[in-house]
Amino acid sequence: MKKGSFLLPVLFLCVWQLVCTLGLLPPSKLTSPLQVCLGMKDLLTQGMPPGFLLPMHALYSLERVLYGFSLALLLGVPLGIAMGGSRTLRNLLYPMVNFFRPIPPLAWVPLAILWFGIGLKSAAFLIFLGAFFPILLNTCAGVLAVEPILVDAARTLDASRWNIWLKVLLPGSLPSILTGIRIGMGIGWMTLVAAELTGVRQGYGLGYMIMSAHDLQRIDEIFAGMVAIGLIGLAIEWCLARLSKSLLKWK
C-alpha cells in the first residue's frame, strides 16, 4: 500500500469528526469516529448481544461465506470451462444465466429458508448465489480469450482434446478465473448480512451482530460492525491479490 493512499481516508475521518464535534447533525443520526472506536472496543470486550464477542462473530460469518463460496467455485469453474469450450452449451445456458444473475440474493431469502431451513445451509446458498455468477462468467470469458494460436500450437504437438483442456485452456484462462474468484468472493462477503437473515442458530454472525446492535439502539456498534465487515473484506481481497500475483508470475 502506497503512502499517498492514506491521505484521503484520514482527511475524510477528520471532516467527519469535525461535523460531529460541531454538532451539525444530532448524535442519534451520526456517530463520531471516536464513538465508533469506542463501539468497536465494546464489540471486542463486551460483545453484542452482551457476551457474544466480535472475533467469534467474524469466525462464524467466515465459515458461512467459505461454505457458499466453495460451492460456487466447485460448480462455477468446471461449468465455466465447459461453456467456454462449447458454443452449443453457451447458447443453451446464457439466457438462463442472464435471467437469474440480476436477481439480488436478498430476494431469495424466503425460498432459501423454505428449501434449506434456517441456519448454515440457507445462508451458504445465498452466498453461493452471489459468488457463482462472476466465477462462471469470468471463467467462460477466460477460456474464450485464450489465443487460438496456442490451441493450434498444442494441436501440432499432438495434444488430445483432454490435453488441450488441461494443458492449454485451463492454465490460459487462469487469470480470468482468478479475477472471477476475487469478484465472487467480494460479492459473497457483501451478501453476508442478507444471508444471515435466514436465521443464525448459534447466536454468532456479523450480520446478526449488527441487527442486534440495531435492536438495542447501539448506533455506534452498528457503525463499528460495518467497519469490521469492511476491514475483513479488505483483508480477504489482499490475500487473494497476493495469491493471484504468485500464481500469475508469468504475466
Binding site: P27, S28, Q46, P49, P50, G51, I113, G117, I118, G119, G199, V200, R201, Q202, G203, Y208, M211, S212, H214, D215, L216, Q217, R218, I219
Partner: protein, 323 residues
C-alpha cells in the same frame, strides 16, 4: 421566466424538500401511529379504530406502519415518523435509555400474554432446564419476550449460552416449529395459542409464571408530539381507555375484531385472550424491574434509575380520565 430558471427553481425546491423534512402541523393533522403485526396485546388499538372511538374523541389516526418487532417501532420514532405507538415496554425502555429517541409512556396496554411453547415432538422437556442444548426462537433482542426468556433461564440457573437462542419473526416461528427446525419459541399471543390449536406445540411456561402481573405493552408517544399537540394525545389516551374497557365488557365483539386483525380462527383467539390481561394502569415497580434486569444483562446502562423513570413515564394523561 426563462426555462432554465424555472427548471433551476423546481430543482431547488426538490432538493429543499428532501433536505428539510416538513414538521407536522398542529391541528387537523392525523396522529401517526403504529402497532406490531398480529400482536394481540394491541387489541385496544384495533377496537378503537374499528368502533370509531378515536373519531368520537375528536382525533383522526393514520396507521403509518405495522411492524415486525418493537425495535423497528423505536427506530421509526427516532426517525420522526411516528407520533404514538403500541409497543413493548422493554424495547421502549432500551431506546429511551440509549437516548435514541425521546418517548414517554402514557398508559399500559396489557400485562402478561406471552408464553413459551415447546414442540410436541420434544416430549422429554418438562421444565426450563430441559432447554439446555435446544434451539429457542424469540422475536428480537430486547423485546419483552427476550427479556422474559432470559429472566426465566436465569431463575432456573440455566446459562443463556447453553441454549441456542435465535431471532425470528413470530410468523416464521410456527413454520419452523412444525418443520422441526426449532425446538421451542417464546412469542406474544396469539402465536402460542395457535401452536397449540395447530397441534404442533404445547405451552411449557406462561409469562405470568415467570413474572406475575408483569407489564407488557404500553402506549408510548414522542415527546415533541406531546409538547406540540397535548390535546390530541389526551384524546388518544381517552379512546385507549374506552377501548380497554370495551374488551372487558364485550368479549365476543373483542374476539371478532381480534380475528379480523390477526386472520386467526376463533378457537385460537379465545384461548389466547385467556392469557392476556388488558389494563391501562401503569406500574412503576414493573418499570423499575425492567430497568434493573435490562441493566443486569447489560442491554442498557442507567446510572440513575429514578431520574430516568421520571422522564420516561408520564401519568398526567391518564389522570385526566375517569374510567
Amino acid at each position: 421566466m426563462s426555462r432554465k430558471r424555472l427548471a433551476a427553481g423546481v430543482f431547488l425546491i426538490l432538493i429543499a424538500s428532501l433536505v428539510f423534512p416538513s414538521k407536522s402541523q398542529p391541528g387537523g393533522q392525523p396522529v401517526r401511529m403504529a402497532y406490531l403485526q398480529n400482536d394481540l396485546h394491541h387489541l385496544a388499538l384495533w377496537i378503537a379504530l374499528d368502533k370509531g372511538f378515536f373519531i368520537e374523541e375528536g382525533v383522526s389516526i393514520e396507521v403509518v406502519g405495522v411492524f415486525r418487532a418493537g425495535a423497528a417501532i423505536m427506530a421509526a420514532f427516532g426517525a420522526g415518523d411516528l407520533d404514538m405507538a403500541y409497543v413493548g415496554e422493554s424495547p421502549t425502555t432500551i431506546a429511551a435509555a440509549r437516548g435514541a429517541t425521546r418517548v414517554q409512556v402514557l398508559a399500559q396496554a396489557n400485562t402478561e400474554g406471552t408464553a413459551l411453547v415447546v414442540s410436541r415432538s420434544q416430549s422429554s422437556i418438562s421444565g426450563l432446564a430441559g432447554l439446555r442444548g435446544k434451539t429457542v426462537a424469540m422475536p428480537g433482542i430486547g423485546t419483552v419476550q427476550d427479556f422474559l426468556l432470559r429472566k426465566a433461564l436465569r431463575s432456573q440457573g440455566v446459562d443463556e449460552k447453553e441454549v441456542n437462542i435465535m431471532v425470528m419473526s413470530p410468523a416464521g416461528m410456527l413454520t419452523a416449529l412444525q418443520a422441526g427446525q426449532i425446538d421451542a419459541f417464546i412469542a406474544w399471543e396469539p402465536y402460542p395459542s395457535k401452536a397449540e390449536t395447530m397441534g404442533i406445540g404445547r405451552s411449557l411456561v406462561r409469562s405470568r409464571d415467570i413474572w406475575q402481573d408483569h407489564p407488557c405493552c404500553v402506549l408510548a408517544a414522542d415527546q415533541e408530539f406531546l409538547k406540540a399537540r397535548p390535546l390530541d394525545a389526551q384524546a388518544v389516551v381517552r379512546a385507549h381507555v374506552k377501548a380497554t374497557k370495551y374488551i372487558r365488557e364485550h368479549a365476543d365483539e373483542a374476539v371478532a375484531v381480534a380475528m379480523k386483525y390477526t386472520g386467526m380462527d376463533e378457537a385460537t383467539i379465545r384461548a389466547a385472550l385467556k392469557n392476556i390481561t388488558y389494563t391501562t394502569e401503569l406500574s412503576l415497580a414493573g418499570e423499575e424491574e425492567f430497568v434493573r434486569f435490562l441493566s443486569l444483562i447489560r442491554y442498557i446502562k442507567i446510572s440513575d434509575p429514578q431520574t430516568f423513570m421520571e422522564g420516561f413515564i408520564d401519568r398526567r394523561f391518564l389522570q385526566g380520565i375517569r374510567p
